[in-house]
């Protein structure tokens, strides 16, 4: 029924479902007007970048409101509701406030590092968007090693945290920065090994290839690999310094951690960079696990990039939901979670996925048989692992953390570990 | 008309000269820094220069298996990372005993 209507738009430049038609028309016109090839290449890069950066800018503004309002409603309070209907102008007020604030820079801070740190924190988050496919033919940079490029960008952000903490010339900022770096480096392993399972299934590190794999097999990767999704979700929320892992910027504990000494728009850049990082990670999850721009033939009617943005906001809502619900972990709990829970689970996931891929290749039976089998097996494995880990490896309730390692001369009395029930049974004594 | 003026080319020798310059700078840093971590920085620079040279050869030289250069470069990165870890652990361990990482002051074979 829709076919004659769709024929009217398919392939023409006004077909919004695939913006590559529009860009191809523009480049064709430029070519007709005599522009050399390299200039068309540069202009195409700039147009794509313009689109992505405008999306990022809009998202950074909107997400300020989304975070505060949604978290507020989840916590049974109103959230910002004074400025504009439903508080929608709150981001504007925040931006104006940050811009007109006086930048109080510590006098003895090494100037260049202090200024570059927020920029170095923002750029990798934005650079991730270069490899993400927005539609069937809409990728800015079709890299063969796209996923590895994304991992490299996340590991570059670690250095900028150190730069911010060190250049603040403030012992507490430095201490907060070193804690954060230990956490970020620990969580890189579950992220990489968890995504290894995705790459094994899809057979390629190219993000468009992974989306096409999901399209060919008529299944979202999250159904095929729930364990990888869970591992990646929790590990990346630690990398993003979001609650429950926001020990870095816990206002109630170390003031602001590595961005204590930043004020005005420099702090605004850190704040915006965290939101942008959250959105870029949501985009990665939407591409890898939720099918990106593909949604069971829906992209015939609805533009792929709209589906993609919807999925990005769905995953971002998951992040905000986790933030509004869970309390904050301690740093030693976070590190134990990374090393003792996520890393073994990720390794088991890779081993099982490799075995499954081998069985799939060797047996030669069609995907139609194997995909439901893998969905069932992986789902059962995920359930068994999560329940098993919680039952057998959850530590007893520890009143004090284990001895801190950075400063061994601080004496912390190590009380014996008791479970919560025993603690209460003894009347609140250890 | 402008095209012939802008016809740049990149030859193997130019890349090798860049690699040699990086190696020489790394050698200077490794030999002349007082801090043990500074010496390690020089060593890492030299290893990067070696990688540049290996990849230039892999790209430009006639060979039956041209990707061998890239395989070798990945191994160099791996070994360099392992060596950096052990060297820095050594530096921290020496610091715990001697309160210094100045290579001029760590000059006794036994404590």
């Amino acid at each position: 029924m829709m076919a004659p209507l769709l024929d009217l738009i398919t392939g023409y430049w006004w077909d919004l479902r695939d913006l590559s038609n529009l860009s191809r028309m523009i480049y064709g016109r430029l070519d007709d007007w005599g522009f050399p090839d390299w200039s068309i290449y540069v202009i195409s890069g700039m147009l794509g970048t313009l689109g992505i950066v405008s999306f990022i800018g809009g998202v950074a503004i909107i997400n300020i409101w989304v975070e505060r309002r949604v978290v507020g409603r989840m916590q049974s309070r109103l959230g910002p509701n004074r400025l504009g209907p439903f508080g929608l102008l709150q981001p504007v007020a925040d931006a104006i406030k940050l811009m007109q604030k006086e930048v109080l820079q510590p006098a003895s801070a090494p100037g260049l590092i202090y200024t570059v740190a927020p920029i170095a924190f923002t750029v990798p988050g934005i650079a991730v968007f270069a490899v993400i496919p927005w539609g069937r033919h809409m990728v800015l940079a079709s890299l063969d090693v796209g996923l590895l490029y994304i991992l490299g960008m996340s590991s570059l952000a670690v250095l900028s945290v150190f730069m911010a903490g060190y250049s603040s010339n403030n012992k507490y900022s430095l201490f907060g920065a070193m804690r954060v770096i230990a956490m970020l480096v620990s969580y890189e392993i579950p992220i990489v090994v968890g995504l290894l399972g995705v790459v094994l299934f899809a057979g390629t590190m190219d993000l468009q290839g992974i989306v096409l794999f999901q399209e060919d097999n008529w299944a979202f990767m999250v159904m095929l690999q729930p364990l990888a999704f869970l591992i990646y979700f929790f590990a990346i929320s630690a990398e993003l310094n979001r609650t429950p892992a926001d020990i870095a910027e816990a206002e109630s504990e170390i003031v602001g951690g590595y961005h204590t000494e930043y004020s005005g728009m420099k702090f605004g850049l850190f704040y915006a960079a965290e939101l942008i990082n959250a959105v870029s990670v949501s985009a990665i999850i939407a591409t890898l696990f939720l099918g990106g721009w593909w949604m069971y033939e829906l992209d015939e009617l609805v533009p792929g990039w709209m589906i993609f943005i919807g999925k990005v906001y769905g995953v971002y809502f998951l992040f905000v939901w986790t933030r509004g619900t869970l309390p904050r972990f301690r740093i030693d709990q976070l590190l134990a979670f990374a090393w003792k829970w996520l890393t073994p689970m990720a390794i088991i996931n890779v081993v099982v996925v490799a075995a499954e891929v081998l069985v799939w290749e060797e047996s030669g039976w069609s995907a139609g048989f194997w995909i439901p089998v893998f969905i069932a097996v992986n789902g059962a494995l995920t359930g068994a692992l999560v329940v098993g880990f919680v039952k057998f490896f959850a530590p007893k309730f520890q009143r004090f953390p284990t001895r801190p390692r950075f400063y061994p001369d601080i004496d912390v009395p190590s009380l014996p570990a008791v479970t919560g029930a025993e603690f209460m049974a003894k009347g609140g004594q250890a | 008309m402008i095209a012939p003026l802008l016809a740049f080319t990149l030859h193997l020798e130019e890349v090798l000269v860049v690699g040699a310059a990086l190696f020489a700078i790394g050698l200077y840093v490794a030999l002349s820094k007082r801090n043990a971590i500074g010496v390690l920085m020089g060593v890492e620079l030299m290893l990067n220069a070696v990688n540049v040279t290996l990849l230039a050869f892999s790209r430009f030289i006639e060979s039956e298996q041209p990707l061998d250069g890239q395989v070798f470069a990945v191994f160099v990165i791996t070994v360099a990372a392992a060596e950096a870890a052990v060297a820095l652990a050594l530096a921290v361990a020496i610091y715990k005993h001697r309160e210094t990482v100045n290579i001029d002051e760590i000059d006794l074979l036994r404590w």
Partner: protein, 174 residues
């Protein structure tokens, strides 16, 4: 030889960045700034690898060198708080300069004088899959040895920095 204008310009910009940052590593007076310039050198070198159509090696370089080795060095700097943080040189500065200059001269002379067997092969396309095959077919033994090496390095680093455990504390009223 590479003949596309844009790529050649990009290579020279990246080479200038890399060598400039390497010179800054030698020249800055603060150790932490030197480590950060070293990280920038690694990123510049990764750019050069991309020009030489080694995309997988370039991303691995960013991931490992700029993302992990630099962080390792900053940790080492932070875990040695009473050490001298100035990036000063020993008495061997001038001999080192002379030696480095001689090495550079020899290498440049050898480079320009040798008759290289240049091939007119096009740039590599996707290297990740081919490298994976190379690691598992002809080079599987070095691959396994490298993983053993990494494990040994990890264990060695942990053993070297292990503190002596204090004697176990007695509990009160035992």
């Amino acid at each position: 030889m590479i003949a596309e204008n844009g790529i050649v310009i990009a290579f020279w910009l990246l080479a200038a960045t890399t060598i400039g940052c390497a010179l800054m590593v030698a020249a800055v007076r603060e150790l932490v700034q030197a480590v950060l310039f070293l990280a920038l050198t690694f990123v510049g070198a990764a750019g050069m690898y991309i020009v030489l159509s080694a995309d997988f090696v370039a991303v691995v370089q960013v991931l490992i060198y700029a993302g992990a080795v630099s962080v390792l060095m900053t940790f080492a700097v932070m875990l040695t708080p009473a050490a001298d943080r100035r990036n000063s040189e020993t008495v061997f500065q001038v001999p080192a300069l002379v030696l480095a200059g001689l090495v550079l001269a020899v290498l440049v002379f050898v480079t320009l004088d040798t008759d290289w067997a240049i091939s007119d092969r096009a740039a590599f396309s996707a290297t990740a899959a081919s490298l994976g095959e190379a690691f598992l077919k002809p080079y599987v033994v070095p691959f396994e040895v490298a993983s053993v090496l990494l494990m040994v390095a990890m264990i060695g680093a942990i053993v070297l920095t292990q503190e002596d455990e204090p004697p176990p504390r007695r509990q009160e009223g035992e």
